[in-house]
């Protein structure tokens, strides 16, 4: 047993957390055991330490018993370290004279043998008590925060977050990869369950972004590099050439009319390839910014992206004195400084090629949901008329729910919006074509305001609902009625037999999944991804828009599938979190930085190890020096110093050795 240290009087508190800890760990026994350890002045167990009376108890003990250090054994420090540090401080001690021991997430919740779990709790408590004795008072590090914000992704999430911040007076950079903002929502005709027109509610917000003096909108751009830390990020944005000078283009589109291609003949991305566009084009009528762009892959003035200057350039003629077209435009790199970042990069639809049994790509009249959205859209390629790829009008339409979702072979999760948008499409397709519509579903998931009512409405409208996962879509006719049709083969699990339903058109309700480049975006902003690949929130309930990197927030479908109302709510939350940081004016940083002791031998081995170039060599003293402002507190230099001359606050050798000896000590338990 170590000798008691002079002047160290530790208060030890073990929390029952209701039954969460107490059911698996004998808390009174842990408290009784801790009371026998050196330096422990008081040891108590309590039902809920994080409650006000629990914190009061600690404060009172500090004052009445003259404690010098506090240890709390309860949940994870990632959850409540702050709470108890504050209580320690309120009791009159330095908040860093505190240590937290995790006996819930790391003990009671993961073990099944009460005796062993209690022993583990005692060992962890012993480690915390030994460690805390070495804790010294420390000061929070204060750094100023840059008030500007970067929003990445201009879907409804990014748009809403940018507008919220801008109207609160913050300067916002909105970076969107595509030529226009709007994201997926811009492609919809109507939105469930209210069936209000998507363009009518989205377009005003898009124009507000364009005209807001506080928003710098960079479309057709991508973030290529992020450096720095909360409050002080340096971000490099690549602006791709659109061969049109944004500031000079007025969006009159005369260049498009006068293009040497008299007819649009290239697949139009915005219409999911269902329509055609010219090499010089604007993605869609409400596109924001209202600036045309040239596709160098197909423009005659280029050959596969390389400028040849061989076209007559009728577009340049049409643009005349405005001189907005610039074939020599190059990509540009812009560097900006921001204090906080909101990532709102959205989702990508599931790739239907992964379920070949549904015939996409084989049968022309099988559509994805997004294609169907464009087909019923008044401003879509057919102006809202439901005409099939073979020119026919459908009499019967099948909508297959959960394509790619809720399936071990593809994506396991429920995509949350497919049931609702399938029903929306059923309503719209029926309205636009008069066809019979069959929905094939596993369960109807309609949890939301007015959602179940929408399902009722569809039932009343005479849309058919058949419960069962579709086996295949085939053109193999078994009866004369099936001739020339697409046949849905499905086990109707309510009727209890296998059915074959002939239709003219099939819509695949594809699920939502993370972007294929989510991993590189995640790295760019130092975030984590969940197992499915969506960006990981700091806490699933209590910090849903925060990430593990301070100052980086997430909003919308990049965090997981959700509908527009939830996306907007989350975007507002992310904006508020960013504002809370900015308006405080500074950031308190953990004082866990490293410093060099006088006995540094000057070997310089730590210098190249620091990823932040925080360590320099002072030739006058022949010793290394750490710039505290640059140090992020990883401790890599400390772990590698051959002479043990570097100290890391809060994770110093003595403290860690104390913990190691504590968990392994041979003291009676």
């Amino acid at each position: 047993m170590p000798e008691p240290r002079n002047g160290v009087r530790i208060g030890f508190y073990v929390c029952h957390c209701g039954h969460n800890i107490a059911s698996m760990v004998d808390c009174p026994a842990v408290a009784a055991y801790a009371a026998t350890l050196p330096n422990v002045a008081v040891s108590r167990d309590y039902k809920y330490l994080c409650s006000d009376p629990g914190q009061e108890l600690i404060k009172r003990d500090i004052a009445e018993l003259g404690l010098s250090h506090v240890v709390v054994a309860s949940c994870s420090p990632l959850l409540h370290e702050h709470t108890f540090r504050s209580a320690t401080e309120a009791g009159g001690l330095n908040p860093y004279c505190f240590h937290m021991v995790n006996i819930r997430e790391h003990d009671s919740w993961v073990h099944t043998d009460r005796r062993l779990a209690t022993e583990k709790a005692k060992a962890l408590a012993r480690a915390g008590i030994r460690r805390v004795a070495h804790h010294q008072p420390l000061e929070m590090k204060r750094v100023p925060i840059h008030p500007d914000v970067l929003v990445v992704g201009g879907g409804i999430a990014g748009i809403h977050a940018a507008l919220t911040l801008a109207s609160a007076g913050k300067k916002v950079y909105l970076v969107e990869r595509e030529p226009s903002i709007g994201g997926h929502m811009a492609k919809f005709d109507k939105t469930f369950p209210t069936l209000d027109c998507a363009a009518c509610i989205l377009t005003p917000k898009m124009s507000a972004v364009r005209s807001h003096p506080n928003i710098t909108l960079w479309s057709y751009s991508e973030v290529v590099k992020t450096d720095g830390y909360v409050g002080n990020y340096t971000v490099t944005v690549r602006r791709k050439p659109r061969y049109v000078i944004e500031e000079l283009c007025v969006g009159c589109q005369e260049c498009i009319d006068s293009c040497v291609y008299k007819k649009p003949m290239f697949p139009d991305e915005f219409n999911e390839g269902l329509g055609k566009r010219k090499p010089i084009h604007i993605p869609f009528p409400q596109a924001t910014p209202q600036v045309v762009l040239i596709d160098p892959e197909v423009c005659l003035n280029f050959k596969r992206g390389v400028l040849t200057d061989k076209c007559k350039k009728t577009c340049v003629e049409a643009c005349a004195e405005r001189k907005a077209i610039d074939f020599n435009q190059k990509e540009e790199l812009k560097e900006i400084k921001v204090g906080t970042i909101i990532v709102a990069t959205g989702f990508q639809p599931f790739d239907v090629k992964r379920v070949p049994q549904y015939g996409y790509g084989t049968y022309p009249n099988v559509y994805t949901a997004l294609e169907a959205e464009r087909l019923v859209n008044a401003s879509g390629p057919t102006s809202g008329e439901v005409v099939l790829r073979d020119g026919r009008h459908p009499n019967a339409i099948a909508i297959i729910h959960c394509v790619g979702s809720r399936d071990r072979k593809t994506n396991r999760w429920c995509s949350r919006v497919c049931c609702m948008y399938s029903m929306k499409l059923a309503h719209l397709l029926k309205e636009h074509s008069g066809a019979e519509v069959y929905n094939f579903y596993i369960d109807i998931r309609a949890p939301g305001k007015g959602y179940e009512e929408f399902y009722d409405k569809l039932n009343e409208e005479g849309v058919h609902f058949i419960r069962g996962r579709v086996g295949e879509v085939t053109d193999w006719a078994m009866t004369p009625e099936e001739e020339g049709k697409l046949v849905i083969r499905v086990e109707d699990t309510l009727a209890g037999f296998v059915r074959r339903i002939p239709v003219d058109m099939v819509v695949l309700s594809t699920g939502l999944e993370p972007h294929s480049d989510a991993q590189s975006v995640r790295r760019m902003f130092n975030m984590s991804c969940g197992t499915e690949g969506f960006f990981l929130e700091r806490h699933p309930k209590l910090a849903p828009v925060n990430t593990y990197t301070d100052g980086v927030f997430i909003a919308g479908c990049c965090q997981g599938p959700r509908d527009i109302p939830d996306t907007v709510a989350q975007a507002g939350a992310a904006a508020a979190e960013a504002m809370a940081l900015i308006d405080r004016g500074h950031i308190d940083q953990e004082p866990n930085t490293a410093r060099i002791l006088a006995d540094c031998s000057g070997c310089k081995s730590c210098i190249p190890l620091c990823p932040y170039t925080a360590i320099a060599f002072d030739s006058a003293t022949q010793k290394a020096v750490i710039n505290e402002a640059l140090c992020k507190g990883c401790g890599t230099c400390v772990g590698s110093c051959p002479s043990g001359s570097i100290i890391q606050n809060l994770f110093d050798d003595e403290e860690v050795f104390g913990e190691i000896q504590g968990v392994l000590a041979d003291e009676p338990n």
């Binding site: 994870s76 993961v110 779990a117 480690a127 190890l609 990883c634 401790g635 050798d653 968990v663 000590a665």
Partner: protein
Amino acid sequence: MNPTDKAAAAGTGTPPAAEWTPRIVAFFCNWCTYTAADLAGVSRLKYSPNVRVIRLMCSGRVDPQFILDALSKGADGVLIGGCHPGDCHYVEGNYKMLRRFRLLRRMLSDMGIEPERVRLEWISAAEGDKVKLVINEMSAQLSALGPLNLPGKAKGWDAELTAEREAVHA
């Protein structure tokens, strides 16, 4: 009383084989592996209770001395958990750890310590199930290997040295 502690307290060094379970000290980085262990808890996954986790900010902070100290104080194995390559919160602390780890393992094998006793794993914040898997696997491997008993061995080495020294002086 922990059976190992009991044996050690009784000064026998080697505890009775039937009661013996391995002791694992784990060093987890704050951002990935510690969070993953929290996730394992929140998900109520169940794993072997003979592991004691020590939180560090980054796996790069793991000083080889921590590992040696743990082994010399009676640990039967040491587990180090960090973020996946490319994912370290501090850019490359995990690579620095990897370098040290490789060197250390060579040294440990020279000392007659089986390589399975010291393990480095990359576990991301989302991989709660991997925490469970690795701990259970390691626990099983160490049970099969039996106690390391480095403190006992060290006593033996000390005795040998003293004997030799005396022989020289004699």
